[in-house]
């Protein structure tokens, strides 16, 4: 930590930063209002799949960048899981050097255009900003600025391809192409390794592709980042399920020296209540995969999905929010979010909740389904829900929902999406005997090096954390890349 602080101080004392700081009084900076990100009109956007947030203009970005005080002790950085040098990139924007800002981001974050869009900034970097902590004002819009710089670079066509160390002809395998895997392979390729990413699905990107909808994160943005990795020399092997298509031992025989497992949390949970297997009841993974990965709403594509007049989504997380807003876009008259606690306990991002409400999503908090009814063809027609009240806080620190006896009532529904969480993907744990696992089915790793109980296997992301965020998964991938490098240099070579 010592030298990081040193480094930050040195960077901060560079003449261009000094000059910028002096160009405007702190008082003036703090009196600027936070720039609002332009959005598509709620009525219009609830009928299309185009991005909701439209991005900042250059002028807006520069104005927002002026608000940042370039603090001597930039607390914002400690709120970012990959420790982006936040004041430096923001000051580059203030200095109109947008490409320079993007370069700063790329020093520690392989997918800034993605993180700028989907990070829960309000609980991460922005929550640790001086404005939030000390001034009790709305923080610098760090995420919006990050998105701005990354988008600017992409649209300029001048994407910087990072320098790559000399090839060392050592093969490393990355299992899973979600954010954890992509971050790991980005670092490993820079270190000179021969990197192959194995992905079970036909497309690369993990949740970024099959889960998070286009209106929040266009696939095209993810594809540009993947194309960059390809240009740097990363090989992507899709339709390859490690543990099924080939065992880890077979890959070892093929010369892979180390493995990074970023296989995510793929197993959907259900509530196991009567009628839950009726036709028209989906897991959020199925619902979103049909629509995002398989393009079910585009008549040119073969994959079907049900649309309905009344669609109920069970849950209160990002996944529930993504599903319910998607249902609305598919033309549902009523798109209802049913959550067993109150809005205050909802794990979804604040921005999603706000956007959902603007789009006309009905929030039915403190309610929980107890059973479903179907017609003679097995198609769901009704659900019975029960009212809930909040009791004492439970292990998660959130107040426990308690059912109110006798409060049940019926809602007519055409489609239901169950979005109550996922469990770690069991494919790799099943396929690798001896791998030390937790009670919850996550892979146990060393927190520094991300090494598992088997020396050549490293892991990170949702398969280690159970369920996390894009940026935490990426942070894990990067730490694991460093761990793999250390392991290979110290143990394998020599």
């Amino acid at each position: 930590m010592e030298n990081i602080a040193e480094y930050l101080k040195e960077e901060r004392s560079q003449p261009w930063r000094d000059e910028l700081r002096k160009s405007m009084k702190a008082k003036e900076r703090t009196s600027i209002e936070r720039v609002h990100m332009p959005e598509q009109d709620p009525v219009e956007r609830s009928h299309n799949y185009l991005e909701v947030n439209l991005g900042l203009t250059e002028e807006m970005a520069i104005t927002e960048a002026h608000r940042c005080l370039d603090c001597p002790d930039p607390t914002c950085i400690s709120g970012c899981p990959v420790n982006i040098n936040i004041p430096k990139f923001i000051k580059k924007i203030e200095a109109h050097d947008f490409l320079g800002a993007a370069k700063v981001l790329k020093e520690t974050n392989a997918l800034p255009a993605v993180c700028g869009r989907v990070c829960p900034q309000e609980v991460q970097c922005e929550n640790s900003c001086f404005y939030t902590v000390k001034l009790k004002k709305t923080p610098i819009a760090i995420g919006n600025l990050e998105r701005f710089a990354a988008d600017y670079e992409r649209n300029s066509g001048k994407i910087s391809v990072p320098e790559i160390a000399e090839h060392n002809n050592t093969k490393v395998a990355v299992i899973g192409s979600g954010p954890a895997g992509l971050a790991a392979c980005g670092d490993l390729i820079k270190m000179g390794y021969d990197v192959t990413v194995f992905e079970a699905l036909h497309d690369v990107g993990g949740v970024l592709k099959y889960g998070i909808p286009e209106y929040r994160l266009p696939n095209e943005i993810v594809d540009v980042e993947i194309e960059n990795l390809r240009k740097m020399g990363v090989k992507f092997h899709t339709n390859f399920i490690v543990g099924k298509t080939a065992s880890l031992d077979m890959l070892r025989e093929q010369g892979y020296t180390a493995f990074f497992v970023g296989s995510g949390a793929g197993l959907p949970r259900f509530m196991n209540i009567p009628g839950e297997n009726s036709v028209g009841i989906y897991s959020s993974n199925e619902y979103l995969t049909r629509i995002n990965l398989m393009h079910a709403t585009d008549p040119d594509y073969d994959t079907p999905v049900h649309d309905g007049k009344t669609v109920a989504i069970i849950g209160g997380g990002n996944t529930a929010m993504d599903s319910v807003r998607t249902a609305k876009r598919m033309g549902a008259k009523r798109a209802i979010l049913i959550y067993r606690r109150s809005e205050a306990e909802m794990p979804a991002r604040m921005e999603e909740v706000k956007h959902a409400k603007e789009e006309g999503i009905e929030f039915m908090t403190l309610h929980n389904p107890v059973s479903y009814e179907a017609d003679e063809k097995g198609r769901v027609t009704k659900m019975v829900v029960q009212k809930m009240e909040l009791g004492e806080p439970d292990a998660s620190g959130r107040r426990r929902p308690i059912p109110i006896e006798g409060s049940e009532f019926e809602i007519e529904v055409d489609v239901v999406v169950v979005a109550i969480g996922v469990s770690p993907n069991p494919l790799i744990p099943h396929a690798v005997p001896g791998l030390e696992m937790s009670r919850w089915g996550t892979i146990i790793v060393d927190k520094e090096t991300m090494q598992s109980s088997i020396p050549d296997i490293f892991a990170g992301g949702d398969i280690v954390r159970g369920g996390a965020t894009v940026i935490l998964a990426m942070g894990d991938g990067r730490r694991a890349a460093a761990g793999i490098h250390k392991y290979i240099t110290e143990k394998v070579k020599k």
Binding site: H202, F240, A246, F270, E286, T289, M294, D300, G378, R379
Partner: protein
Amino acid sequence: MNKIIEKELFSENVCRFVVEAPEIAIARKPGNFIILRLDKKGERIPLTIASADTEKGTITLVVQRVGVTTAKMLNMNEGDSILDIAGPLGKPTHIEKVGTVLCAGGGVGVAPLLPIVEGFKNAGNRVITVLAARSKDLIILEKEMREFSDELIVMTDDGSYGKKGLVTQGMEEVITREKVDLSVVIGPAIMMKFAALTTKKYNIKTYASLNTIMVDGTGMCGACRVSVGGKTRFVCIDGPEFDAHEVDFDEMMQRLGAFKEQETEAYERYLKTVS
């Protein structure tokens, strides 16, 4: 990309494909399946690996035309390529020496049954196979089945070949005649339902290989879920074979019809584009 090396028409609606997939050819075991996507706009559908040739690096698929994807596939030819094939998926069949095994295959269920019949035979069992179809021209893989079966019984609904009657009648004939230690049934859901009811009467342990709708095939979506013994199970990772006496076939049939309207519409649209 996976090139089609060979195509053989069994009947107007059933076709055998030999397709390049070297890694899968090595890794596959009896009972495994693959998920394929024919082209960029295609859906992902599961098909059983009927056999494989590790030297040539190919797998064999037997496909029955039921809707858009299978119809498109039947229109493909040697030299064409299938965009994506992922596998092998599912748990392999648990094959051991148990004594006498009664295998029953209906319709295109005969294809996935073949490697299982072969496996049980090679493990030293007495294998009796019942093949069933509506009529003579729908009976497939008879020669291959005969090779690995101690006895082969053919049943047709209309009596145009073998014996006239349903698969269950063929099964019952064997069961009442000799001791059967295990039964494996694969075919349309309705056939498996009644085959399971038949063996249940005689208390014979029975496995059914379920053909639910799937998307990813890796346990990620839950589209393939069925109730087995009152519990929800995922066919792609917990199956495809389950204790047939525990499976809720009625629920499974309803779930198979989940997209019937969309599928029929899509099929009609497709027929217009090809004619």
